[in-house]
Symmetry: C2
Subunit: 250 residues, 2 copies
DNA sequence: AAGTGGTCTAGACCACGCA
DNA sequence: GCGTGGTCTAGACCACTTT
């Protein structure tokens, strides 16, 4: 990585810097390798540290870099493809063997206004909540909150309900007794809340992809899941819509 | 639920600022209203302009604000839901009446390496390319590049092919003569390239949701589309997987 | 204790939209 | 021409991890 001089170009310095760095990453660095620290990089390119940081920020947003306070900046591996809607509609926790979700906690809480509206319950009514984490290669990919109104789980008595992760499993088990009719999802960009950030090993405000899933059963919305995926490391895949839907179309 | 341990958490100024502003947006501002300018806001909150900007940046990322150079900062309307996989697999341009995509340009070009690999063609082979824009309420939502290898369009002679948008329409029409077998998609975070940024009425580097769609026909990948959606204004929806897939599952 | 990235400041100038 | 947001600087200190 040489000291490529920055010419006076119409494009912003940080943009040009990002291009130069990006090419250097392709040709001169291996995945996992540690870059020189920010102060040295800034000096080497003859820019202020803030400007250098603006370039690094973009590269991190694109999943090319990974920065960790107290450690350094490393070259990130390619994003992992994460199946979000494959292979068919299923209740959370129903995948059996290959389930990568781990229930963390369970309880009751008042859902966010947006979720209450989707569930069609009063905005101040507490509902069952399950917290889960999705791992891959012992690295956290996503943190999820699943909201289930009491009406959806008639078999769940509040007497025999344990607490913590055990309770989460009970709620998930009860859910699977319902016949799932359909499921729809939405993806949008967000920034990690403090609790999600801790779970995802990121700083608060880190960019995340928020996947909202609506589960429908018995003619109404039976549950809503809000999953936040690390935007830097994840590529969300929406599985092959072949076979099944072709029956519909044909 | 939850262990609300109150650690010694020195919350960054910009984070607190973001919370305060967010609440103010909810209670004191209407959609479309113009906020005071950055210098005044910074003075009002007693912080440097850079710090204030860090808070505004996050709020813009979350779709709460819209900032435009030379104009000002306005309160953004709620994100629009954009159907990306609904209702079933179809070639681009096949929606008939309600098609919101507008072909912009057509021609030939060498695809990016990642696309060439998906298409299973040599990385230096030019392919047909269609540029389209997706509009909603006369505002651009997405810019797309559709890559189609010549082998996928045996009926397209290079003699009678026009140029520009007309050519784009010819390519799309030819595509629809193939029987589409399946389609899969992936969503990831990216930053707008200069050309996409211009099309989307944003600055280069603006956060976008990149949707990569792989169209399969005749047992192979017949086309690949890379669509970049404005992350600030779009919520991507993946339609109801009910009916059709239930046939598979049941 | 040393070194890293994260936050913050107080300025300056530039690019753009609009009257 | 004026006011807006966008870029850039040269510092300082803080939070965190590792040694």
């Amino acid at each position: 990585m040489g000291t490529t001089q920055l010419e006076t170009v119409p494009e912003p310095k940080y943009w040009h810097l990002k291009t130069v760095l990006s090419e250097a990453l392709d040709s001169e660095f291996a995945v996992g390798e540690i870059l020189p620290n920010e102060r040295e990089l800034a000096a080497r390119f003859g820019v202020a540290r803030a400007t250098l940081r603006q370039a690094l920020e973009q590269l991190e947003l694109e999943g090319r870099l990974q920065r960790r306070r107290g450690v350094g900046t490393t070259v990130a591996p390619p994003r992992v493809g994460v199946a979000v809607a494959d292979p068919g509609p299923a209740w959370p926790g129903a995948d059996g063997t290959a389930d990568t979700w781990q229930p963390v906690d369970g309880g009751e809480a008042i859902p966010p206004a947006a979720v209450a509206e989707l569930l069609n319950v009063a905005p101040d009514r507490p509902v069952h909540v399950v917290r889960r984490t999705r791992m891959s290669r012992s690295q956290p990919l996503a943190a999820e909150l699943l909201y289930v109104p009491a009406e959806s789980l008639p078999g769940l008595s509040s007497i025999d309900a344990p607490t913590g992760a055990a309770r989460a499993r009970v709620i998930l088990r009860e859910l699977q007794r319902l016949e799932l009719e359909s499921r729809d999802q939405a993806v949008e960009l967000g920034s990690a809340r403090a609790d999600d950030a801790r779970e995802l090993d990121r700083l608060p405000g880190a960019p995340v992809l928020v996947v909202t899933t609506r589960y429908r059963a018995q003619g109404r919305t039976a549950a809503v899941a809000v999953a936040t995926y690390r935007a830097d490391t994840c590529r969300l895949t929406f599985g092959d819509t072949g076979g099944g839907v072709r029956l519909l179309a044909g």
